[in-house]
Structures are given as structure tokens and as C-alpha cells.
Symmetry: C3
Subunit: 307 residues, 3 copies
């Protein structure tokens, strides 16, 4: 990987991705070996939207590399509510840190930020857009459990508003995975995303019922029906409660099916799945630390950090 910023999964080649996952695996196996690697370096955490796992795992990743973080805090406690533009905010913050992790409600925010600053920018979610580090940890989890060759993946739930799905599908296409998208009509994968996937030669099919494809799957990736992405509460209620799985549902699956979820879940996966061999969503969340360590290491080493 030779990138200044990580803005979208689409900018990464298959080789880029494999290099990051390899490095993450090394770091997970030997954390002590990198515990001082980025000592004296600071990472700015700029989260314009609520986050637990993404923010905490970037924070932990930077600290596991021996570095430290400076946190912009919530929008309510910052200058943003005084009317400052994003371009100004990041141009100030680049003077306080060696890199910026940015989550923002507007699609394209990270790309805009990257045009204005010289330090590396990591897109940690931009509205309905991209969330590439989530994609990398998803791929890492799939590789650890099922390998990335000849993979059949089911992706279920909110495929319209779920940003993690769009990045993931794009990346899976580069590994030539077979993809089955399972959702209600109202939450189908957007046309534009489908178009891009077809352009990339992806093998994909759409379904409204999980049982049509469950027995074939190596991985079932479940997503939350996100209330806050819905323009209308009625529409949310109509589909909420659908597309849930439990231990009974999975009786029809292969024994080695890996069940994933970007979390938080509400009711999509019943607690009786948690104790099964299928359940990999908590390890998946934990994989955010080594994957983000590898990512930060790569980006921060680019401007002199490798010393």
C-alpha cells in the first residue's frame, strides 16, 4: 500500500488489502513487538457523529502502537457549533496531530478533508458513504474464519442505508466472492452500488428470503436496520423485526458458517446464537484493533513515522 489517506475501500487493490491483513495478523500475534513503534506520535480523533466501537478501537490501536490520541470531543463541546467549516476545523487540527481519523454525517467529508490537510486522513464513516476500516476488519474476520478464496457470502438486512455494506461489497468483488444480498424490497442495495459492482465484474444475486441461500453460505453478514437512517418512522416499523436469525434458523446452515455483524445489534441476531460456533461478531469487533494498528502503522510511517 502506498497511500496518503484511506478514504474508501475502492482505493485499495487486492494486494493492498492483503498486505494490511498480513500486517494486522503479525501485530495480533506479537503486540509487544510494536508496543513502542509509534511512541511520541499523536492521532486526532474527530467524530462528528456518535460512535463507540470505531472510536474506541482507533484509540486503542494508536495506544497499542505506543502513541497517543487527542480527541476533538463531541460537536456540542467544540467550535463546530460556532459555525466553523469542516475545511477550517481539519486545517487547525492537522497542527495538533500526525494523523486524523474522521467520522462525519456528510458523504464525501473525508475526501474534502484530505484535500485540505497534509497529514493522513482516515475515513471512519461519512454518512451513507464509506467506512473502509470497517471493511478491512470484516475481511480480516472472514479470512481468519473461512479464507478469502472461493467465498460465498450472504449479506442481509439494511442494504440501502448501511454504509458498511457498500464498502464491503466493493472489496469482496476484488476477491471474486459470490455475493447474495438478502433484504426487503424497500431496503435493496442502491442501483448505483449495484451498477458499480457489475462494472467490477462481481457475481451477485438479490433475494428477499434468507432460506433460499442459507445452505450455500460460508459467511452470513447481518446488518442492523438503522432507525436513524430512515426518513420515515412508519417505514422503519414495517421492516423492523424482519430478517432476524436465531439458533433454529441456523440449523439449515453449514456447520462452519461464520455469522458476522458490524454491531450494535438490536434484535437481528437472537442471544441463543451467541454461544454457537457460528458467532464471530464479537471477535470481529475485537479485530478492529489489530487491523487499525496495521492501517495506522502504514499511514503514519509514510510521513516519517518509521523510525
Amino acid at each position: 500500500m502506498r497511500h496518503d489517506h484511506l478514504l474508501s475501500a475502492g482505493q485499495l487493490t487486492r494486494e493492498d488489502i492483503e498486505a494490511v491483513l498480513d500486517r494486522a495478523a503479525e501485530m495480533a500475534a506479537d503486540p509487544a513487538g510494536v508496543a513502542e513503534r509509534h511512541a511520541d506520535r499523536l492521532l486526532a480523533l474527530c467524530f462528528f457523529e456518535p460512535s463507540t466501537r470505531t472510536k474506541m478501537s482507533f484509540d486503542a490501536a494508536m495506544k497499542r502502537l505506543g502513541g497517543d490520541t487527542v480527541d476533538m470531543g463531541t460537536v456540542e463541546s467544540s467550535s463546530v457549533k460556532k459555525g466553523e467549516s469542516l475545511a477550517d476545523t481539519v486545517r487547525v487540527i492537522e497542527g495538533y496531530a500526525d494523523g486524523i481519523v474522521l467520522r462525519h454525517p456528510s458523504e464525501g467529508a473525508a475526501k474534502l478533508a484530505a484535500e485540505f490537510v497534509d497529514v493522513p486522513v482516515v475515513n471512519a464513516g461519512d454518512g451513507a458513504g464509506q467506512h473502509p476500516s470497517q471493511t478491512l476488519l470484516d475481511l480480516y474476520t472472514m479470512r481468519e474464519n473461512a479464507g478469502l478464496d472461493d467465498l460465498t457470502v450472504g449479506i442481509m438486512g439494511d442494504l440501502k442505508y448501511g454504509r458498511t455494506v457498500h464498502s464491503l461489497a466493493e472489496a469482496l468483488a476484488t476477491f471474486d466472492a459470490r455475493m447474495h444480498f438478502v433484504s426487503p424490497e424497500s431496503l435493496r442495495l442502491p442501483r448505483s452500488v449495484q451498477f458499480d459492482l457489475h462494472e467490477a465484474g462481481a457475481r451477485l444475486r438479490e433475494h428477499t428470503e434468507l432460506d433460499e441461500v442459507l445452505p450455500e453460505l460460508d459467511v452470513l453478514y447481518v446488518t442492523r436496520i438503522q432507525r436513524e437512517r430512515f426518513p420515515d418512522e412508519n417505514e422503519y416499523q414495517k421492516v423492523a423485526g424482519q430478517y432476524q436469525i436465531d439458533a433454529d434458523t441456523l440449523a439449515a446452515a453449514r456447520d462452519d458458517l461464520t455469522v458476522m455483524h458490524p454491531l450494535p445489534r438490536v434484535d437481528e441476531i437472537a442471544p441463543d446464537v451467541d454461544g454457537t460456533e457460528h458467532a464471530q461478531y464479537f471477535p470481529q469487533a475485537h479485530n478492529g484493533v489489530p487491523v487499525r494498528m496495521a492501517l495506522l502503522d502504514e499511514l503514519l510511517s509514510g510521513d516519517g513515522g518509521d523510525r
Copy 2:
């Protein structure tokens, strides 16, 4: 002490407590000696309720041990408001840190969390339940000022809703202290707590007036009448302003009376007490750092931290 988690003061024997207080005293006397002891270790701060002193002192304690913290942030800025269960939240967070400090509005929250994770959990307050690290710093302060043998302690104020009182009374019982509980009728120690204390062989009496017992006391522990614990504003107003002390009140006390308060205070202790020898509530708050250092050291060393 050989514990995986610290959930309640009641789980600690007299020997456990004395070991932690001894270790805290050592650390207070020689902070440089432990300044790198837990380098490379991370503690997750999960505060589902507002906190200043508990959170900051755990944060400081971990950093004084050479470690670092990752903060969940406020509930408003986290996944919790997306409807995630506590069990899910802590199962994710255990992958980001080597231990979890948890404050939560629901009684039993820390116990529940401990059942779901493998890293040590410290209960930093669970609703009207327990707050054991506060108890340890209270005992530490009493030991530094009056010793823990043959102790006569008055505990005054909100004995019904004040969680610090329940933990403290339980622990004082193991040191065979004489306890005088001073409160209005409506804020008496709950029957269930009284019952447990009697079962433990505690020597306790209840009073509605401080002057009945003040001259006998080694320690007077004053608590805030907590408005937010009251279901009814009228009831709060009725007792607010009662059970306050000032320098005049203390004229009837022994010269070596130690006055404590878990803080924050509002009007319970007049500012004219601050300058007297009795006032130990600020040192008491400061004792939170060495006591929590000792506690974290014990818990984190249990899973390989002692290296």
C-alpha cells in the same frame, strides 16, 4: 486478594481490604516506583452516568501506573442510544482493553457485565447498589487519620439512597466499628441493609439528631442529600438544609474528629469547616488515586500484567 472482578465491598475480607490499603500506602509513598508498572496496558472507562471524581481518579490511577485508558464517552455519544444491550457493549469493549471500569444506573449492572467478559470488571457505582472503590478510599482515609481499630463512626445524611453508605457500612462491620446512623426518618438506612449488617454482627444505632452522638465520634461521615435519587421534589425540599454542619457544630466534637464526605457537597458542610483540622474530605478524594492504583494493580496483575 485473589479476585477476578471487584463488584461489591462485601466480597472483600478484612485481609483483602488491609492488603489493598497497605499497597495503596506504599504506592502513595513511592509513586516513581510504580510509574512504569503497567506500561502498555489499557483500561476502558465505561461511565453510563455522569461522574467527575470517580472517573478522573481511575483515569489518573491508570496513568500513574504507566498505563493508558480508552473512554467510552457519554451515553449520548455512544452506541448505547442505538439500543445496544449492556452485555453486548461490554463484550465488544473487552476486546479494546485489559480491564473495564463500569458505572451504570442499574443495580447489578457490574455483576451482569462480569458474567459476560473475561477481563477484570470494577464496579464504579451501580445505581443504588455498590461502589466498592469508594469504600476502599474511605477506609484508607479513616485508617490514615484515626486507625481502623476500635473505631466509632457517625454516618449522617441520606442513608436511604446513598450507595456509598451501604458499601461503607458493610466494610466497617468487618472491622467491628461502632456505627451511628444519623438521618431524618424518611432517609433511614433501608431495612435490607440493616438486616445484612445485623447478620454480620455489626454494632449499630440509629439517631435523628447528631448532637446525641457527636462527642463520641472518631469519624463523622457526611453525605449529600441527593436530589436526583428522590422520586419526589417535595420530599427533597423537606429535608434539604437539615443535617448540615459548620464550625460551631463541631465545637462539641473531639479535637481529633475526622470529618469526611464523598463529595460533591452542596450545603452539608459549611465552608468554615474547610480550614479546620477536622476537614479531611479533600484528602479523602485525593486518596482515590493511590487506592485505585493498588486496586488496578491487583486486578490487572491477575491476568498476566505483572511483568
Copy 3:
């Protein structure tokens, strides 16, 4: 400099200021040389009002010195909303850290805090009062760009409510700078500030139009018309939009004019100025880090930190 606290720019002599700026320049030139200088020391960040740049740059400064911070969090997440006094809050927090940085909405808050604690207190803004570390970074920026000798400075915008302006003017007087204050009538420099400046022998003039003085200026310091300082929305609207500059405005300026702004800006400086040689407001913000490093170094070394 031989001070226990930094409460106002007025407490600093010209020699004090030059010593801090010299030290800041050294640290900016060789950050690695001080990267472990305050290892094991903690700085408490106590921000009772929203802040991005001041808080983040103190945070970064402390970490660039090898130390760490403990953050009080927002007022909403702290004990303050339980009715605790500022004097109590800081007396507790001094036990958690080796120094306190305080921003508070009430004028005189930092001075009051300093009377109650033994650790160094830095005033990071007290209402309409002082903000001395901002003044130091402003002076640093002027020195880097125009030198501090024989300086002609225009200060434009909200001169009534802008606290940065009052500190800055006071300090510029000690360097015998010529000052031109440019503002609408309703936002003129307060009489009391003018009086103090005249007492100090300052050379100052007031204007309502920038073009009267622009060609003479070495530095143009633009400030935001702060909506939140206005008691009345109508008054805000009346002056909003006035006193803005763009590249065309600056055609009448000297080629080496330095344009500064404490940020955040809203519309006071058009984006077409950003690409010009005049624009120094982002470097100015970045200078907050070395200047605050120098300041913290001085204050923390006073009580044994220099080891």
C-alpha cells in the same frame, strides 16, 4: 518567568514573554529533545465551556512533552451539575494532576481557582476576561512573521466582547506597538480596557473603517463577531457581515502584511485569502502547541517537574 499560575497576560513582563517565546521556538525546532521531558506528569483539563483548539492544543502540548492528561469532561457529564462550587471542584482535581488548565464562563474563575489549590493553574479563558495563552501564541506568530519591534497592528471586529483582544492589546502595549482598533461603534473596545492601555502608555487609535489604516499595517488581526456574546440577536444581525475581508480588500495592504485570526472564523475572512502569503491564521493556531509546551514546561518545572 517565575510564576505559580498563568492567570492573565498582564502578569507577564516583556522579559517573561520573550523567555516563553524563545523556549517555544526551541521546542518547535527540536520536539524530540523534549519528548520525554514531563513523562509521568498529568495535566487536568477542566473546560466548563465548549472548546476545540484551546483544549486540543493543551492536550497535544502536554503529550508532546511526554506527559498525559486527565479530562474533566463536559459540565453535563460531571459533578458540576450536582451543584458543586468551582472551589470544591478544583480542590478535588488538584489531587489527580500536577497542573490544571481551566476554561470557565465566569470572569475571575481562574483567579479564584488559583487561590484554592497548590498546583499551577492556567487560565484558558474566563468569560469576557483573559485568555493569556492565546495572547502568547498570537505574539509568537507576530514575532515569527513581522518581528515584535516597531510593530503596527490593526485589530478588527468584535472588540467589546472578544476576550482575546483585551489580553493581546495589553501585551502589545508592553512591546510598544502602534495599535489601530477597527470596529463598529457598538463593538468598540470597552472604556475600562482603553483606560488601562492609556495608563500603560500604549499608542492606540480607534477607527470605524479598515481602509483608513490598512496600508500602514504589519499585522491585521481579525476577530469573529461572536453571536453567543451578544445579549440581543438584533444587534448581532446589524453588524454581522461587516468587517469582512477578502483578497480584493488586501490589494491595498503591504505585500508583507500578516493576517491573523484566533479562529473559528465564520465569514470574516473570505476563503480566497487562504491561499495568499498574508494568511497566517492556520499556522497561528498550530503555534498553540509549542507555545503551550513552553508554558507548561515552565509552570510544571516550578514544583519539581524539572528532573
